[in-house]
Amino acid sequence: MGFQIVIEPGRTEKNYWKDLWRYRELFYILSWRDIKVRYKQTTLGILWAIIRPLLTMLVFTFIFGTVAGMKGRSAVPYAIIVFAGLLPWQFFSNALSESGNSLVGNERLITKVYFPRMIIPASSVITSFIDFFISFIILLLLFVYYRYVPPVQVFAMPLFWIMAFIASIGPGLYLAALNVKYRDFRHIIPFIIQFGLFISPVGFSSDVIPAQWKGLYSLNPLVGVIDGFRWCIVEDAPNPLLNYPFYISLAVSLLLLVLAIRQFRKMEKNFADLV
């Protein structure tokens, strides 16, 4: 036989990661479903993933670059500076809202089938990656438009993709779990996103923050991620890896992830009874 399952209170703890691995196929297929449905349902489809960041970029370039007069601190066109920040930000905000609502949205699955629940928020973060890569098309178009060649560290970018993923999945898991129990998190998520946009260096470079405050500012994990993206794309942006605030951001993302996983596992056993 060789295949034995013991069901006891508190038992799921033991084989947690092994179980997660065993259900990887479900993870792939749920990600595939989310992606497929996302681009099937809207007639604009992929276009939508382009229009949104494009318009945001235009508005931000105008407001921060022209109105606030931040243009001219760098030799690189301001639109590119904004877009380098917008890319990870859009990913983060999509991932957070998608995964935050994912468990409640998949109620039927949760109450009718067993699988490690973490698959659901994780697969919805993957969907946001697709939008993210589509936005890269705009970045390439910007390069062409401004006849701009990115610096060599552009190849280090995948490193920051991973960091963006970590920074998003932590809060995503947290919110997903809390949303099952306390439904008003549904209203809190858009607020976090709106608020986060202003406290993250999306429309401006984090250089404008005075040096003595930079450490505190970097408690926002997105600061490190965005600085990383800027360094890869904007040739005269400073290398964040050389300064300690970056590591504060990284540490906060990792800490959030660990806490989120712990919280998620604690609550996950009751999802089927609560959702």
């Binding site: 295949f3 069901i7 799921t12 479900l26 099937k40 039927r108 949760i110 089938v113 067993y114 009874d273």
Partner: protein
């Protein structure tokens, strides 16, 4: 090595019922509110423990088909959820030896926007099949479902029958060692139901697989399962050969106990003071028999509580599942009530034609109102009688249970 594939030891599941809200989830603001209140008041919010299951012990051997029956809310679904690992037990322990799949619903994970083909893969993965396995069985699944032509159409355009057929076909091709099935066959057309039952039977009988089957359909359970449990109020009430368990279930659901008449004043107008039933010259009370082919006579004493112009009196006869068999009302039979003064009492006698329903339990409700529209007064469960077969019917065998009315006929 023992051939016991499922072993449950002292399994229990406790739920906490909060009384202030119907929803299982809370809003954070409520929690904050409660906690703040808690700072000042000594009383804790009312929480009640409820054991949905308590002390469940059983063993299932390999290749057995077990039927689980019980009334709504008895704890069957909770047990299945524990066995399927959807929810954790509060206490006790279950050991499952073998790959387990559970079908608590068919078409779980189906997405309306995706095509039939895509949904087969999606649903298969949700039920625990891997991609290679689904690919191998794909043609068989499609053939069983009979929706070949619509494979590339989004399932939202399917008729509900097609949808169910496709969903069940995926489920029927699962090859676990232990299959747990909830009441999923209650839906769908009879033809397809039969096909599905046949497939399940084949699964348990020929392939040595263990099946746990929950249903209200005792006919299906009896034909599929050899052994069973009756769950009642979270405990195993009866266990043993399926026939025995079904009989025990029948006696549990058919009791007349606690089903007295329920009087209800709907609005001012008239009230039923008293009523009396009789048949073939004998009084009939709740629990009594009425012979098939006899009439039912009903006497109702009505008092007006205001000046009434035209009164309607209705008598409903339902079977024990609540299906309405007859609706008798005075206007239909051309009887018009004379106007009544406030406080006036009148006795009306109604005699039905011979009752020719199939034998079984029936319930009579009474109703007063004005011209069939607004009600004055009702008595639910005024009588609960059992109709017995009599020599009105030529055959000595019982009439088939799935027929509803015996229609007598003349033959030449």
């Amino acid at each position: 090595m023992s051939d016991i594939v499922i072993k449950a030891e002292a399994v229990g599941k406790k739920y906490i019922i909060r009384h202030e809200g119907q929803e299982s989830y809370q809003a954070l603001r409520d929690v904050i509110q409660q906690k703040t209140k808690g700072l000042f008041a000594k009383t804790k919010p009312v929480r009640e423990e409820f054991w949905a299951l308590k002390d469940i012990n059983f063993e299932v051997r390999q290749g057995e088909a077990i039927g689980i029956i019980g009334r709504n809310g008895a704890g069957k679904s909770t047990l299945l959820k524990i066995l399927s690992r959807i929810t954790e037990p509060t206490e006790g322990r279950v050991t499952l030896n073998g790959r387990t799949s559970s079908l608590l619903e068919i078409g779980t994970g189906f997405h309306p926007e995706l095509t039939g083909r895509e949904n087969i893969f999606l649903n298969g993965a949700v039920l625990g099949m891997n991609r290679a396995e689904i690919k191998k069985k794909f043609d068989a699944i499609v053939e069983f479902s009979g929706v070949e032509k619509f494979l590339d159409t989004p399932v939202k355009r399917y008729s509900s029958g097609m949808y169910l057929r496709l969903a069940f076909s995926v489920a029927a091709h699962l090859e676990p060692e232990i299959l747990i099935v909830d009441e999923v066959l209650a839906v769908g057309d009879t033809e397809f139901q039969k096909k599905c039952l046949g497939k399940m039977d084949e699964v348990s009988r020929n392939e040595g697989r263990t099946v746990l089957f929950v249903s209200h359909n005792t006919v299906a359970i009896e034909s599929l399962c050899s052994r069973g449990f009756l769950i009642e109020q979270g405990k195993i009430h009866t266990e043993g050969p399926i026939k025995h368990v079904i009989d025990s279930y029948a006696s549990l659901t058919n009791t007349f106990v606690g089903k007295g008449p329920i009087h209800k004043l709907i609005s001012e107008g008239a009230v039923i003071q008293n009523f009396r039933f009789s048949s073939a010259g004998n009084d009939v009370y709740t629990g009594d028999k009425v012979m098939l082919g006899q009439e039912l006579k009903i006497e109702i004493e009505i008092t007006a509580t205001q000046k009434l112009k035209g009164l309607s009196v209705a008598i409903d006869i339902k079977n024990s599942n609540g299906e309405l068999y007859s609706h008798i009302i005075n206007e239909d039979d051309g009887y018009i009530f004379p106007d009544m003064e406030n406080g006036e009492t009148r006795v009306v006698t109604i005699k039905t034609s011979p009752i020719l329903y199939v034998p079984g339990d029936y319930i009579v409700d009474l109703w007063l109102g004005s011209y069939q529209t607004s009600g004055y007064y009702s008595v639910k469960n005024a009588l609960h009688f059992s109709l017995e077969q009599s020599d009105v019917v030529g055959r000595k065998m019982p009439l088939p249970q799935h027929t509803k009315v015996y229609l007598s006929s003349t033959w030449n």
